[in-house]
């Protein structure tokens, strides 16, 4: 059974049909990238799955159960965690407060241990733990956002444009970290405009264009696909 199974999903907001009937699935432990240009409907798809944007029609199954009517805060408890576009940090709160916010939906005793794990993963954040998150560099902020999402102990992680607004060298760094997270067996759906780096680390990829999925294949095949090369890889 697929962990996430989206079929014939339609989403509109403000009168715009942003997503027009897409099918997408993720198996447990898989890293899948969803690439496409600005405004293709990638982020809207993520928001719809997370319950933030209402779905017009279609079905979203998580572990075989329809989650369309479940409010976003309950989905977090079920194990869906989102690293929002633009990072969505609580800028006035400290790094540590941000990370702890990530565990808001949990009530178990493992939170302190998990915080140590996040600091081990991002030693940089340990140095900055009591600094306001809004004052960090873009790359550090992305680390906080990623760490915060992991604090919820997700089973499915959505990353919305993790490379956005980062210097090229920082993009490399962030993707190294995503690779580390993935190596723990995490299931990840990666939404990216930077097709090259996204495809280089995922197993499969979907290409989205004006609300529809136009291509779907193994990432290695997509990297060689002449259409993808011309449109997204600049070759």
């Amino acid at each position: 059974m697929n962990l996430l199974e989206i079929s014939d999903l339609h989403v509109s907001y403000d009168g715009i049909k942003a997503v027009r009937g897409i099918d997408l699935s993720l198996e447990e432990g898989e890293i899948v990238s969803l690439i496409g240009a600005n405004g293709a409907g990638k982020s809207t798809t993520l928001k719809a799955v997370c319950g933030i944007t209402p779905v017009h029609s279609g079905s979203i199954l998580f572990e075989g159960e329809d989650i369309r009517s479940i409010p976003p805060h309950m989905l977090v408890k079920r194990g869906i965690s989102l690293v929002p576009e633009g990072r969505g940090l609580f800028g006035r709160s400290t790094v540590e407060e941000n990370l702890k916010m990530g565990a808001y939906s949990r009530r178990d005793k493992g939170i302190a241990d998990d915080l140590e794990k996040i600091y081990a993963l991002f030693p940089r954040l340990l140095e900055r733990r009591s600094q306001a998150a809004g004052t960090l560099s873009g790359g550090e902020q992305q680390m906080v956002s990623l760490g915060r999402a992991l604090m919820a102990r997700p089973r499915l992680l959505f990353l919305d444009e993790p490379s956005m607004g980062l210097a090229p060298i920082m993009v490399q760094k962030i993707f190294e970290i995503i690779r580390t997270v993935a190596s723990t067996g995490m299931t990840i759906l990666l939404v990216e405009q930077n097709a090259k780096i996204a495809l280089s680390m995922s197993q499969r990829g979907y290409v989205m264009e004006s609300g529809k999925i136009t291509l779907s294949d193994a990432s290695s095949a997509l990297l060689e696909n002449p259409q993808v090369k011309a449109a997204y890889l600049g070759q």
Binding site: Y104, A132, T135, E140
Partner: protein, 355 residues
């Protein structure tokens, strides 16, 4: 030990304050202190909505009105009810809390200026209702308001009792309740709910993604803030013995908002400071007229208009010189001071990613 000694001195100072004030400035000023404490409670209530949850509310005075009218209606000859204050104050807080949710529910999706406009309208609706509910049945007494409201009585002892003079009695009652409100505020701020408020204030989508039920948490902010307003309203009615719609106009809402912003949004001590300062300052500026006369031999600028002018000037100066408020919380100060450092961190990071 040193901390305890400090606290003991602080409490002693607060206890002695009305007597010293009376000795130096007279009973009028003790009354001003009473109002300052009342405003402190109101400002702390609004601080929950505006400071903690980041929801701009321009009609906050409506909740004060709900508490005040509830007390007035159930403890005056108007309907002939004379319920005791210990029942009326919680009832007022509860009723105002319900009104808070009533305002919160339809405005959940609004933010910033849009929310401000709706809350402003809500405040006016309540006031206009109070003004007009004297016909066909006289419920609120209309523009004349309600008077002969029972004073607050503890056991058989009315706080209006000449013994020790009413302003002193109310001072101590207000002091205790203001301290309780401040204590609850601080506990709320550091609770799970308090953290959820911070999260929705800073980024609502991210807060949702953290698993926060943003709807309930916002409604709770409205209800908690409103119930503090309702509590102060009841105290106001008992203290004044008279309520009328004109005490609950937009100016009052804005004044309380000024106290919160000026003192330091989200910082309990700052907000109390702002409330006391803004209730004392306009009174202190009443001395401008006599001062002019003694300096120039006659009144050059009308004292009343000069007073408001100086008050406005003071507000503008504070916002220019201390944009985070007079006594901001550490978080806000951190944010405003960090610009130079941020730039430095940014540079070291971007150019040295190997670290």
């Amino acid at each position: 030990m040193k901390q305890r000694l400090k606290w003991a001195f602080f409490v002693l100072a607060l206890v002695l304050l009305p007597f010293i004030t009376d000795f130096a400035l007279g009973k009028t000023w003790v009354r001003i202190l009473d109002f300052a404490l009342l405003y402190a409670m109101l400002a702390l209530g609004l601080n929950i909505v505006v400071g903690f949850a980041g929801l701009l509310d321009l009609g906050y005075i409506a909740f004060f009105a709900v508490g005040a009218y509830l007390y007035a209606l159930l403890a005056s000859p108007h309907f002939g009810f004379h319920l005791p204050f210990w029942l009326l104050l919680p009832m007022g807080a509860f009723a105002a809390g319900i009104f808070g949710m009533l305002l919160g529910a339809p405005t959940l999706r609004l933010r910033g200026d849009y929310l401000a406009i709706v809350t402003l309208g809500f405040g006016e609706i309540i006031r206009i209702f109070l003004n007009n509910l004297d016909a066909p049945y006289n419920i609120t007494g209309g523009p004349q308001g309600l008077d002969l409201i029972d004073p607050i009585k503890i056991g058989d002892f009315s706080l209006n009792h000449p013994l020790g003079h009413a302003v002193f009695n109310y001072y101590f009652l207000f002091l205790i309740l203001a301290a309780a409100v401040a204590f609850v505020s601080i506990r709320l701020q550091h609770s799970r709910i308090g953290r959820a408020w911070v999260a929705i204030r800073e980024d609502e989508i991210a807060a949702e993604a953290m698993g926060i039920n943003t709807r309930n948490v916002k409604l709770l902010a409205f209800a908690m803030g409103a119930s503090f307003g309702g509590l102060s309203g009841g105290l106001f009615a008992g203290f004044e013995g008279f309520v009328s719609p004109e005490s609950f106009n937009l100016n009052e809402s804005i004044m309380i908002l000024c106290m919160v912003v000026l003192g330091g949004m989200g910082h309990v001590r700052g907000v109390i400071f702002g409330a006391i300062l803004l209730s004392v300052l306009p009174e202190a500026l009443r001395y401008v007229g006599p001062l002019e006369e003694s300096l120039f031999g006659r009144v050059i600028v009308d004292a009343a208009s000069l007073r408001m002018l100086l008050f406005g000037l003071a507000l503008i100066l504070v916002m220019l010189l201390r944009p985070a408020g007079l006594w901001p919380s550490g978080t806000r100060r951190r944010e405003l001071a960090a610009h130079g450092e941020t730039a430095r961190h940014e540079n070291t990071n971007v150019y040295d990613a190997s670290r």
